[in-house]
Amino acid sequence: MLFQKIIMFILGYVNISVEGFFIEKFINACKSKDIVLQNLHLENDSLLKAKVLKSDFKDIVHISKKTKCKIKIERKNGIPFFVNKYRRRKIFAIAICVIAILIFVLTRFIWNIDIEGNENIEEAEIIDMINKYGINIGTRKNSINTQKVCNLIMIEREDIAWIGINIKGTNAIVSIKESKRIPEIIDRNEICNIVANKSAQIDKIIVRNGTAKVNVGDYVNQGDLLVEGMMEGTYTGTRSVHADADVYGENTIIKEKKESFVQNETIFSGKKEKIYEMCINNFKINFNKRVSKFKNYDTINKNMKLRFFSNYYFPIEMKIITNEEIEMLEKKYSEEELKTKIVKEIEDEFEKEYSISEIEEENINRNEEITNSGDELNVKITYIIREQIGTKVNVN
């Protein structure tokens, strides 16, 4: 029944009312002309209501004239009547077609590249690499052979262990697994030297095989020879060996910082202003062109790409720029407070420069020196890092 209703809706049907004394005659005439009448029911003795297909209606008019019935259209339903109703709104129909075509065409291209899984490699670098192999913002989806690009990239880059490009909607998702550099292992039977991998002061040398070329307390630079793979014996003479030794070096790093007890502190006043910007690929439209009304402010940019469902991105981007007002306040620190603040700053800086995680805690010697000069506090921290500095290098 539902199927029949759908077909009737597509073809279009009319609700008619028939009035007359010979309704049976009318029904039989319809039957003999193969006209399908539906939902026949009598409203009263001489008024019949029914549903008829649009194409059968002309015949029904003839029949009603023959059988002397009055016929009246109550309602027109279905797609043909609907189309007819909006026939004059041509631009509306054209616009709908244009939008549909636009959406269809725009979803054939890639409009967004997402990169996940990278730790050390910069996102821009990966994007450049992908662009080189033909995956760009605005490339056609069919023209991309992801498997080929992945293979080429994996061949080219040593530091990428695995790369996968997944195209979902208009979104290209690049997943990367970075490879860890394996230290070069030199076979025990090969002849090698030990060379300093960073400049330091020698603290301790334990030689198991080979001849030490430096003494404790010497300063060495990066690349200097520490232990040579040569042995001199009274009976054997000089012979080349596989040098093996532990060489420890010390590095002294001095960090100093001076700060005043009275300092300006920034506080957000809570006032905000928003500026909107629209980007169509690389074409920008500013909705607001004036300079910010705040004297001091912080800017936060937020980009929103237009997208349908979860993966259909479009090359239209909305940019929201939020300016938050900043107020400067004078703050007086006590000696203890200022000390902890400066120490923390120095520690952070130190950790950023030297990856502490690689060196064991016990091999770092730390010394604090604090001098108070009335209105300023000077903190000086001396770090002594003790670590292995020797690496084996093949002798050719």
Binding site: I23, E24, I27, N28, C30, K31, S32, D34, V36, L37, Q38, N39, L40, H41, L42, N44, D45
Partner: protein
């Protein structure tokens, strides 16, 4: 007519398929489906008279509707009180 019946019996084909004998299906007390009907002789709110090749079918009831009418079958629905047949001689 008789030949048709013989053939359909032999081939085990339902009789109403080959000839135009009506098939009447009554569902509950509110629906009657009549296949292979010829025409409607009378139609009132309370009475429907349908002609077939072998005679007439009279249906009495209330609020009778002819729901589905195509060229060879008709669905009468409503509160049906009684059905009777007039065999043509």
């Amino acid at each position: 007519m008789r030949d048709y019946i013989k053939v359909s019996k032999f081939l085990e084909i339902p009789r109403e398929v080959l000839s135009n004998i009506p098939k009447i299906t009554v569902t509950g007390f509110d629906e009657i489906l009549i296949e292979n009907f010829k025409g409607i002789l009378e139609y009132e709110d309370f009475f429907v008279r349908i002609s077939t090749t072998i005679g007439n079918i009279n249906i009495n009831g209330f609020n009778l509707k002819l729901n589905q009418m195509t060229d060879d079958d008709i669905l009468v629905s409503g509160k049906i009180e009684n059905i009777d047949f007039e065999k043509r001689r």
